[in-house]
């Protein structure tokens, strides 16, 4: 009995040793790569933002000039999202919003939009979607320039009835065989612009210096 207990204990100690060793290796790798990971994630975000907000439009640290937006029906979001504010010489020039089109052909389509201070769209990109490859995926930029059709459009130029695909009497192109996808995107973009109109002042409000920073 004693022998069994002894060998069990030995086995347990052995396993614990390897667990501790593994954790130590992981922890040190984490600390070694953490800065680089944060940097590359920010770089990637900035690359995406730069695609839709021309660099000439801002001179602030857009990655850190953020505003947390609560879930909104107009944006189609179910949780908090982050808006990035572009400012030129302190004046608000554009805001980057996340939005979700809930009614794509295969579920949600995640969008990122940049709206200029005057309500004009600076650009729209699809971040994530599950539309049929080769059919509904022309909303992605590498596949087709369709999404650039939103550039420069505003609710001043197009009234509510125009924010539809041409098949439904609106102003936006679509490709035959995949109408549901662009229909969902156009609708979501319009709703995001409505959200922008309703919250324009709030969106550009300068952040109060955060309490954490003064600590």
């Amino acid at each position: 009995m004693k022998r069994i207990a002894r060998s069990t204990l030995q086995t347990a100690v052995n396993l614990v040793f390897f667990a501790v060793l593994g954790t130590a290796v992981l922890a040190s790798t984490y600390f070694m790569t953490h800065d680089a990971i944060v940097k590359s994630e920010e770089g990637e975000k900035l690359k995406l933002i730069n695609q839709i907000v021309p660099t000439a439009l801002f001179d602030n640290d857009i990655i850190r000039d953020t505003l947390t937006i609560p879930a909104s029906e107009l944006l189609g979001t179910e949780g908090n999202t982050v808006a990035y504010r572009a400012r030129l010489k302190g004046e608000p020039s554009a805001v980057v919003l996340e939005s979700i089109a809930p009614d794509g052909y295969s579920g949600k389509i995640w969008l990122i939009l940049a709206v200029r201070a005057n309500g004009e769209l600076a650009g729209v990109r699809v971040v994530n979607h599950r539309e049929t490859p080769g059919l509904g995926d022309y909303i992605e930029l590498p596949k087709s320039p369709w999404i650039k059709g939103f550039d420069g459009k505003s609710r001043e130029e197009y009234k509510d009835a125009d924010w539809k695909v041409k098949k439904d009497g609106g102003k936006f192109d679509y490709m035959a065989g995949a109408t549901i996808t662009p229909r969902a995107v156009v609708k979501a973009v319009n709703k995001t612009l409505i959200y922008f109109e309703q919250n324009r002042v709030k969106l550009f409000a300068v952040n109060e210096p955060k309490k954490e920073e003064t600590k």
Binding site: S7, T11, N14, L15, V25, L26, T33, I37, S40, G134
Partner: protein
Amino acid sequence: MNLQEFKEITHNGVWKQNPGIVQLLGMCPLLAVSSTVVNGVSLGLATAVVMALSGACIAPIRSYVPNEIRIPVFILIIAVLVTVVQYLMNAYMYGLFVVLGIFIPLIVTNCIVLARVEAFASKNSALPSALDGFAMGLGLTAVLGVLGAMRELVGKGTLFSGIDLALGDAAKDLVLHVIPNYKGFLIAILPPGAFIGLGLIIAGKNWLNLRAEQKRKSTAPATPLTSPEAVQG
């Protein structure tokens, strides 16, 4: 480890016991990421690195691990190595990391890694174990690459699309549009394309094996001096 051993281990991993088309282990990433050459080869290489490292790490400690807990210890070590690779890719190859995403952590569950550790590294010393892991990984990479090329070519008419994610923006020009204005053939990109492609590759390998055997049989009776085919074979 002598040259003969080296040759044998490499030959086993890359061809004779190829994990992708002979052992048929590691199917999960094989089918999921092989939609393009770049994806397939990248995940294959990541797996090869993990397999080489896990062979090298586990072989030296094999005598200290009690038999009863060797599987949990091996899995623990493999999981640590995979996570390290994941951190490194996240830090220094972000674009590729985003593409491969969920499949990097899934290397842990890829049974080929544990299979080689259990079958080889737990019985051999560090250097041959590392080589075995790496050769097996290369074999898998080769299959993923070929399958990726087939699916990409048939499905999209391109080769090496997305290579800029792996090698930086400068590599963008390396993308080959083999068939211009190709409308695409969807099924090759979707999961069934992976099954069909894999089936074709396995059939191809079996055919090559069969042909090699027949050739050996037909040339065996002849002496090398009188038969030119024998010299070629």
